[in-house]
């Protein structure tokens, strides 16, 4: 009965949504409200106004930087939520269940991972730093760093992994995205603008574009580091052995 | 009303003075019990004294006003002492003062709670009397309602709890209805909640149906406190359950807060012309008549003294309603004056019942044979008040009946006189047996009609603590004195006639 009911509701919702989508303005049409209102300005003037070649980065970090600040807070919040449920590990190195994985990883895998991880991280650095000229940026780069560390942890165990990135490194860096955003935002205030204005008042006029670009890159780096640390911390919290915190009945 | 209105903090001080008791309770340790209790009485006394000092100004036609707070411009908490409010405040402060003194020796446990809530209730109900508009009235009225709950359940017996529960149910429902009435009044009165000399509502702004609704919700809301049948259910339970001083106040003052609200609604909110036009006064009159007769019949069947008195109160308060519903000069005069008259009589009767209960432990009338010899002063006072209740001259009860009768003639509805006569007869029927039993029967009478009965010795002077007897005697004296010299300045007539003469020129 419950099944039928829920199926019915989902079907109804699906029909409703399809109906709405059908009555929405057609996609790709240059005359739709979306294409005529805000977008043109972004497309035409983003580069000169935000000094980033990638319009998307310009929109995300500059025009709608406040939203992005909210997004990185959401990511941080996810970590806090995981820690609230699972608890944070104690200081120092920790052991997790991957240390005694039922399938011992072979030498080939170990060597490959040891060999690959630096390159993956290098690629992620590229993704982060090039966020302002090509697709990519802090979120993607952070995820890639996180992914690489996940692979590393899966193969070498939590003990090894937590030796390389101990809690004292992760704890301050987890919120780096928000912190950097806040600093850049406050900087805009010092420059006489509003919060999140990318500017620096004392710089010479000619330096302004370069500064904006560098600030954008700084924010990207913050997001990348923060995202990576959040992912790693979540992973550590999930795979570490239960210590003092257990689900009580 | 607004012409000779002067700013004054006195109303506020009068309201705050009872809180001395709370300070006393907080400030003095348990050891200084006597001192504390007397301080409580002092607060009440000071309040009454200060209030009395306003008398010359009031007779001069002045009103004193102070604004406490406001929500928006037309919705404010304001205290104004006008003649009607002063009149009500005077009697309630007086009765309260006596009841507080009485309680000092009557209440034997949890003094703190009892005196604190006594003081709070006095403060709130003084606030009711001084309210300058319905908004303020409602606020104080509700606080008074909930503040009096601990007084009712003070004994904490099962009966008291049940009575308190019933009281709360009625009070909450009534408060809700009243709340609606006031919001509707605010809405259709164009945001005017104040009291005008001739009423503030008019058919200009609101439809007939709307005004009728407002009137009946008001009547229902206040009617629960004023114990108009069929809304009287809590009264016969609450009165016997409460300690006697509290029942005296319940009957003498708190029931009157409802009646006073109806007076305000009739005189100052609707105005007599509008009432006549809407025709709602007929319903009010019919309800009042029914209540008067039926309550008296019920009273006949009660054996518990306080319960009988409670039913008597239900009937008597409806005199006030009936007087208002006559829409005639003398009727209104009698009705409003009955507010005080009944407070004096019923206050005294309940306090007497309290003394009987304390000294002999007897609750039921049938057990009271010979009480008159054990407690002569108390029972004499009781008899005086009981006779006054029946309307025997010279007493306040007689004045009420006379004025109401005259009002009935003015309204050219002599049927009311019949109701009054029936009521007087019924009153006699349920009061006289008490007196008879108290004085003319002895213990053992019931066992066999004659034979050996030991007539108790008449003892004067040692029957009870002075703090119990003095208030009773004062009230009983006043019942007679006010009945004879009714037009002395400061007595009800001098104040009420000023109000009524304005409305019925």
């Amino acid at each position: 009965m419950k099944r039928v009911l829920s199926l019915f509701f989902i079907a109804a919702l699906g029909v409703l949504l399809l109906y709405v989508v059908a009555s929405m303005p057609p996609m790709g049409d240059p005359q739709t409200p979306t294409a005529t209102h805000v977008i043109p300005r972004y497309l035409e003037r983003a580069e000169e106004e935000t000094h980033t070649e990638n319009v998307i980065t310009g929109v995300i970090l500059n025009y709608r930087g406040y939203d992005t600040m909210g997004e990185v807070t959401v990511i941080f919040c996810a970590l806090a939520a995981v820690l609230a449920v699972l608890g944070r590990e104690r200081r120092g190195r920790i052991r997790g269940f991957v240390d005694r994985s039922p399938v011992p990883s072979s030498t080939i895998v170990r060597t490959m991972v040891r060999f690959m991880v630096p390159f993956i991280i290098l690629f992620s650095v590229y993704t982060i730093l090039h966020g302002e000229i090509s697709p990519g940026g802090g979120f993607q780069g952070g995820a890639i760093i996180g992914g690489s560390m996940i692979i590393f942890t899966t193969v070498f165990g939590l003990y090894e992994s937590s030796r390389r990135i101990p809690q004292k490194v992760r704890a301050p860096l987890e919120g780096s995205a928000v912190i950097v955003f806040f600093l850049v935002g406050a900087l805009g205030l010092v420059g006489g603008g509003n919060f999140l204005t990318y500017a620096w008042p004392h710089a010479a006029r000619g330096l302004q574009p370069a500064l904006v670009t560098w600030l954008t890159v700084l924010v990207e780096v913050g997001i990348g580091l923060g995202g990576a640390m959040v992912l790693i911390s979540i992973l550590f919290a999930m795979i570490r052995e239960e210590e003092e915190i257990a689900l009580t009945a | 009303m607004p012409d000779k209105s002067t700013f004054s903090v006195i109303p506020l001080i009068v309201i705050l003075l009872p809180w001395i008791s709370l300070l006393a309770i907080l400030a003095f340790p348990k050891k200084a019990e006597r001192l504390r209790l007397w301080l409580c009485a002092l607060g009440s006394l000071a309040s009454f004294g200060l209030l009395f000092s306003l008398l010359p100004g009031i007779l001069d036609g002045k009103t004193y006003t102070i604004k406490l707070a406001s929500v928006v411009e037309s919705l404010e908490m304001r205290l104004t002492v006008d003649t009607l409010g002063f009149y009500f405040a005077l009697i309630l402060a007086f009765l309260w003062m006596l009841a507080t003194i009485y309680s000092i020796s009557y209440i034997d446990h949890k003094h703190n709670r009892f005196f604190a809530f006594m003081a709070m209730c006095e403060s709130f109900i003084l606030g009711c009397a001084f309210s300058a508009n319905m908004f303020t009235y409602f606020i104080f009225y509700e606080m008074m309602t909930f503040g009096s709950y601990p007084l009712i359940i003070h004994e904490e017996t099962t009966i008291a709890r049940r009575a308190g529960y019933k009281y709360l149910v009625y009070a909450v429902a009534a408060g809700t209805v009243l709340f609606f009435a006031i919001v509707a009044h605010y809405f259709w009165g164009n945001g005017e909640l104040g009291f005008g000399s001739y009423g503030v509502l008019s058919l200009e702004f609101a439809s007939r149906a709307a005004l009728t609704t407002i009137f009946f919700t008001y009547l229902a809301g206040f009617g629960v406190k004023a114990a108009i049948m069929p809304l009287h259910g809590w009264v016969p339970d609450a009165h016997p359950a409460a300690p006697s001083p509290a029942s005296a106040l319940l009957s003498g003052v708190i029931l009157k807060a409802g009646a006073f609200g109806i007076i305000r609604v009739c005189f100052n909110v609707f105005g007599t012309d509008l009432l006549r036009e809407l025709g709602v006064y007929v319903v009010m009159a019919v309800l009042a008549c029914i209540t008067i007769v039926v309550a008296s019949v019920f009273a006949l069947t009660q054996d518990n003294l306080k319960r009988r008195l409670a039913y008597s109160s239900i009937g008597q308060v409806s005199y006030i309603i009936l007087g208002l519903a006559m829409l005639a000069h003398d009727g209104a005069l009698g009705g409003v004056m009955h507010l005080t008259h009944h407070a004096l009589m019923k206050g005294c009767l309940f306090l007497c019942a309290g003394v009987i209960l304390v000294k002999t432990g007897k609750k039921n009338i049938s057990e009271m044979a010979g009480v008159g010899y054990q407690l002569p002063i108390t029972m004499i006072c009781f008899s005086v008040c009981a006779l006054a209740m029946m309307g025997t001259p010279p007493s306040v009860g007689f004045i009420t009946k006379w004025l109401l009768g005259s009002g009935a003639l003015q309204a050219s509805l002599p049927v009311y006189i019949i109701i009054l006569l029936v009521s007087a007869l019924l009153n006699a029927a349920y009061f006289l047996p008490i007196i008879y039993i108290a004085f003319f029967r002895w213990e053992g009478d019931e066992v066999e009609g004659h034979g050996e009965t030991h007539r108790p010795k008449l003892v004067f002077g040692k029957e009870a603590d002075h703090k119990l007897v003095v208030p009773i005697v004062i009230l009983a004296l006043l019942v007679v004195v006010v009945g004879i010299w009714s037009n002395v300045t400061g007595f009800p007539y001098s104040l009420v006639s000023r109000v009524v003469n304005v409305i019925f020129p």
Binding site: P25, P33, V38 | F187
Partner: protein
Amino acid sequence: MGAWRHFPIFMITLPLLGAVLMPFLGYLRERWVPYAALLPLAASTLLGFLLVGRIPAGDHLSYHLGGWEPPFGIEIRVDHVGLFLMLVVCAITLLALVYSRRYIEKEVSPGRRTAYYVLYLLMSGAMLGFTATGDIFNLFVFMEILALSSYALVAITGNRNAVRAAFKYVLMGAPSSIMVLLAVGFLYSVTGTLNMADLASRIAESGYTEVLVVSYILFVIGFGVKAALFPLHMWLPDAHSIAPSPISALLSGLLVEVCAFALVRITFSVFTRSATDLVGGTADAVGVAAAAAVLYGGIMAITQKDLKVMIAYSTVSHIGYIFLGITAFTAEGLTGAMYHMLDHGLAKACLFLCAGNFIYLKGYRRIEELRGAWRQMPWTCFAFALASISVIGIPPTAGFISKWYLILGNIRAGKWLYTIVLLSGSILAAVYCLRIIYYMFFQAGKEEAWEDASRDVPPGMLVPVWALSLGTLFFGVFSYLLIPSLLKASAYLL
């Protein structure tokens, strides 16, 4: 134009910044975290109070982030109503945080305490941002922070019931978030803008009626779940009663209200009056649901045996009040709804914290166990009584004022049935509140239950409780501080 223009953004970002700094502090000195967490909230509260009186009446403060004018950048838009709610949020979060320290020491295991404060700050900051924003996508972003942090806070004690309640909450909350996101997307697709003020003008001339209606319905359902409007309230009684008491206070006293407020913004600032006619049917449905909520919540509260569950059901009922005020579509009704948010926030937070006091000191959760509580915990009981009086709506508390305006608004709208529902709601409230007061003060109870030598809870837990309960009294007596400007602001919104 002084520095005060920047205050709102700092009110929002300071708690968020504080939150992200907490893990490191927690790593260094875990003991300092409860105190350090107070700083950003205190700063926000201070900034909020400094803003009072700066915004001209009937106008709003518009703050363009990054200096980009609205349709292109994001706007923070604080009008009187918004500022009012932000102050309420600041004050209550601050008080509940003061309360938290001792309570959390007892209820939450050490490894999770830092996370508690982090989430707490995130939640407070998100509520502020949520209230202040003038951009619907931004609204969604903050709603996500709010939702995520509240899910986790419900589960923070880690016992099975808490996790189950949180899971139920997630099951209802996550789809509701998606609905809001879809609604935002739909609106964007037919208007090409995300700014509320811009949307309001573009919706009026937009031809896509079906999309607008569906998007409004999705908004109503989405926020309706978060605000626990009647048929969508199933998560609330569990989540609110099982969460640690300060969190219950926030969830019940603030979260549901800011979500209701979001719907106010969506209805009045985005869809505006003309378009509301278009979606009038939905508004009527909300009215019916709200009326049902008032009665259902009240009746369920009466039947409860657990104190916190009872208070939670009372919240269901009171959310109905707020929605009835909104659906009256009159200035008085809206004022009543807004004032009820204040009153309900203070009173409900106070009730939950009082319930927390009983749990903290005695571990008592059931209502019967409170018989005679007065003897040992007089302060808590008095605060509880005062707050319940406000919940019932007895003068002179704030509850009375808000109910006055709610009923006035509904009378003005000619909605008689809802007027009666509101009145009966307060009767129900009287029944469930007075019962507890009666147990506490007038029943003897077992001697051994309350003869513990330790007296009432420590002052750190009493002060917030009393501040809240006195707040209900204060805003009842001094309602003139707020009501006139709220009336003006409501008229402006309409």
